[in-house]
C-alpha cells in the first residue's frame, strides 16, 4: 500500500480505532440568523478522527451556512465551534471558477496548496517550483487519484469529473486531519461516485481522517457513513444511515420519496449492478 501523505514523525498515523477517537471538531448549540430569518437553530454535533459524517438536507436547509460556520468563514449568531488545536482542514469546494485570463496548469494549481513556508530555505522553491518533499507528496496524490495525465493541461480545460478529482487532490495536499467535502458527488456519474466513495473510505481507514460530507442528495448516502445528520434549519434527525431513514421526522421532512435511503456500498466487481438494486437516484 502506498503511503499517500507524509506525516511528520510527531504525528504518527494512529490506527483506525473507533473506540478511542480524537475529537476533531465540535459544534455547540449553533444558531444563525440573517436579519429576521433564522437559518440554523440549535445545531450540535461532533466529528472524531476516523469518522465519516454526512449532512443531508434539501435546498435552503442551511447546509452551506453551517459549513461556513464550521470552517470559520462566518461567525454564528450564537454558539461555538470547537476545534482540536492546530487542526488541519482540507476543503473540497463544490466547484471553482478560474478566469480564462489566469494561465494556470493543473500541476501549478495543485502546488499552490503546498505551504510556501514549509522550509524557510526553500521559500523561493514555492514560487517557481517545488522542494523534493513537496514533489513526492504531489506525485503520490496525483497517482492515487489518477490525474497525472492532466498535470500539464490548463485548469480551465478539464471536465467536471476531472475537476472533482483535482479538487480532492488539492484538499489532500494540505495534509489534513479533517476532510470537508461540499457536494462531492454532484455532477459525477454513477461510476465516478462509486470510485469517489471508495477512495474516501480508503482515506479514512488508512490515515484515520475525519470526513465531513454535505449533500442535498437525499437518496444516496454512502453506506460507510457513521453518522447522518438531517438538516432543515434544525437537526431533525441523526444517527446511522439505517436508523435515520426509519424515523418519522425524516419522512416528514424529506417526503415519501425518501422512505428509504439508498445505501451505497462499493464492491470491486459489478458496482453498477450493486447500485441498481438500491434506489435509483431521483433528482429533486
Amino acid at each position: 500500500m502506498i503511503i499517500l501523505l507524509s506525516r511528520s514523525p510527531t504525528q504518527s498515523p494512529q490506527l483506525y480505532d473507533p473506540y478511542k477517537m480524537t475529537l476533531l471538531i465540535e459544534a455547540n448549540h449553533i444558531f444563525h440568523r440573517f436579519e429576521d430569518h433564522e437559518v440554523l437553530h440549535d445545531i450540535s454535533f461532533r466529528i472524531h478522527a476516523g469518522e465519516i459524517v454526512t449532512i443531508i438536507g434539501p435546498n435552503g436547509a442551511g447546509k452551506s451556512t453551517l459549513l461556513k460556520i464550521l470552517l470559520g468563514l462566518i461567525e454564528p449568531t450564537a454558539g461555538q465551534v470547537g476545534q482540536k488545536p492546530r487542526l488541519r482542514i482540507g476543503f473540497m469546494p463544490q466547484k471553482i471558477q478560474v478566469d480564462p485570463t489566469f494561465p494556470l496548469t493543473v500541476r501549478r494549481f495543485l502546488s499552490l496548496a503546498l505551504d510556501p513556508s514549509y522550509k524557510n530555505v526553500k521559500k523561493w522553491a514555492g514560487l517557481f517550483g517545488f522542494s523534493a518533499n513537496h514533489t513526492t507528496a504531489l506525485d503520490q496524490v496525483v497517482d492515487e487519484l489518477n490525474i497525472r495525465h492532466l498535470l500539464h493541461q490548463p485548469i480551465q480545460k478539464v471536465s467536471g469529473g476531472e475537476m472533482q478529482r483535482i479538487l480532492l487532490a488539492r484538499a489532500l495536499l494540505r495534509n489534513p486531519d479533517l476532510l470537508v467535502l461540499d457536494e462531492p458527488a454532484q455532477g459525477v456519474d454513477v461510476h465516478g461516485q462509486a470510485e469517489l466513495y471508495h477512495f474516501i473510505n480508503e482515506l479514512r481507514k488508512r490515515f484515520n481522517l475525519g470526513i465531513l460530507m454535505v449533500s442535498h442528495d437525499l437518496h444516496i448516502v454512502m453506506k460507510s457513513t457513521d453518522q447522518v445528520l438531517c438538516l432543515n434549519q434544525h437537526l431533525c434527525c441523526s444517527g446511522t444511515p439505517q436508523s435515520v431513514s426509519q424515523t418519522p421526522e425524516f419522512a416528514a421532512i424529506f417526503g415519501d420519496s425518501a422512505k428509504e435511503l439508498a445505501l451505497y456500498e462499493h464492491h470491486h466487481d459489478n458496482h453498477e449492478c450493486e447500485l441498481a438494486h438500491g434506489h435509483i437516484h431521483i433528482k429533486e
Partner: protein, 264 residues
C-alpha cells in the same frame, strides 16, 4: 546626461517606474475581473486634486490621501454588502469625478489645467515625484515577494484561501492601498482617465504570450515598459500628448498580438 534634457529623462524614468508598479497590480486586476474597481479609484483621484487646491496643500499628497480614503471605503463596502456590482462602482466613479470637476470650476482664482490631470502631463515629472515612485515601487516589490502565492490562492477562490490559513482580508486591503498609491502617482504620467489602461492593457496583452502566472507578470512588465518608451518617442515625433501616446502604443501592441493564436 548628454543630449537628453532633464525633463525628458525624468519623464522616461517616471513612466518606466509606473509601468513596473502597474504590471503586478494589473495582472491581478485582470485575473480577478476588477478593472472597473481600478477605474473607479482613478476617477475619484481628481477629487483629490480639487480638495488639494481647496485646502491649499500639496496636490500629490492630497490625491494620495483621497485615493486611499476612497479605496478603503470601497473595500469596506465590498466586505459589508458583497457589493462588487458594476452599478455601484459606476455611480461612485462618475459622481466623484463630477464632484471633482465641479469643485475645480468653483476655484476661479486658481489657474489650473484640467487637461493635465485628466490626460497626464508626463513632462512635468519632478525629482520628488521620482522619489515617491521609487518608494511605492519598493513597497510593491516587498508586498509581492511576501504574498505572491497568497494572492494567487485568493484569486483562485477567496474562501478556500481563507480556510487554508491565508489572511485574505489583510492581503486584499494591502493590495487596494498599493493600487491607490499607484493611481495617485500615475496621474501625472497618463492622467485620471487613462490610468486603468496602464494596468490592464499590458496584462491583457501578456496573456497572449504567457503560460504561467509568473510569465504573464514578466511579459506585462516588459510590454508596459515598451509602451512607455515608444509612447514617449511617438509623443516627441508627432507632437501628440504623452499620456494618450503611451496608451495608444500599448493598444497597438495588444492589437498586433491579437493576431497571434492565444495559448491555452
Amino acid at each position: 546626461m548628454y543630449g537628453i534634457p532633464d525633463f525628458l529623462l525624468f519623464a522616461l524614468l517616471g513612466g518606466l517606474g509606473i509601468a513596473l508598479i502597474a504590471a503586478p497590480l494589473g495582472v491581478f486586476m485582470v485575473w480577478q475581473r476588477q478593472s472597473y474597481f481600478g477605474a473607479t479609484l482613478a476617477h475619484s483621484a481628481l477629487l483629490g486634486v480639487s480638495f488639494g487646491l481647496f485646502l491649499q496643500m500639496d496636490l500629490t499628497l492630497s490625491v494620495i490621501l483621497v485615493s486611499l480614503l476612497i479605496a478603503l471605503g470601497i473595500h469596506q463596502m465590498q466586505q459589508r454588502t458583497q457589493l462588487s456590482s458594476d452599478t455601484l462602482l459606476g455611480i461612485l466613479a462618475h459622481s466623484s469625478l463630477a464632484l471633482g470637476l465641479a469643485l475645480l470650476s468653483l476655484q476661479n482664482a486658481v489657474q489650473i489645467d484640467i487637461m493635465g490631470y485628466l490626460f497626464g502631463d508626463i513632462l512635468s515629472v519632478t525629482g520628488s515625484d521620482l522619489i515617491l515612485i521609487a518608494i511605492v515601487g519598493l513597497l510593491t516589490l516587498l508586498f509581492y515577494l511576501k504574498h505572491w502565492q497568497d494572492l494567487l490562492n485568493i484569486t483562485l477562490n477567496p474562501e478556500l484561501a481563507q480556510i487554508e490559513g491565508i489572511r485574505v482580508k489583510s492581503v486584499q486591503l494591502n493590495y487596494v492601498l498599493l493600487l491607490a498609491l499607484m493611481i495617485a502617482l500615475s496621474m501625472k504620467i497618463v492622467g485620471v482617465l487613462l490610468v486603468t489602461s496602464l494596468l490592464i492593457i499590458p496584462a491583457a496583452t501578456a496573456r497572449r504570450l504567457a503560460h504561467s502566472p509568473e510569465g504573464m507578470l514578466g511579459f506585462s512588465l516588459l510590454l508596459g515598459g515598451l509602451s512607455v518608451i515608444s509612447g514617449l518617442a511617438a509623443s516627441m515625433a508627432w507632437d501628440i500628448p504623452t499620456g494618450p501616446a503611451i496608451v495608444l502604443m500599448a493598444t497597438a501592441i495588444f492589437l498586433i498580438l491579437l493576431m497571434k493564436k492565444a495559448p491555452n
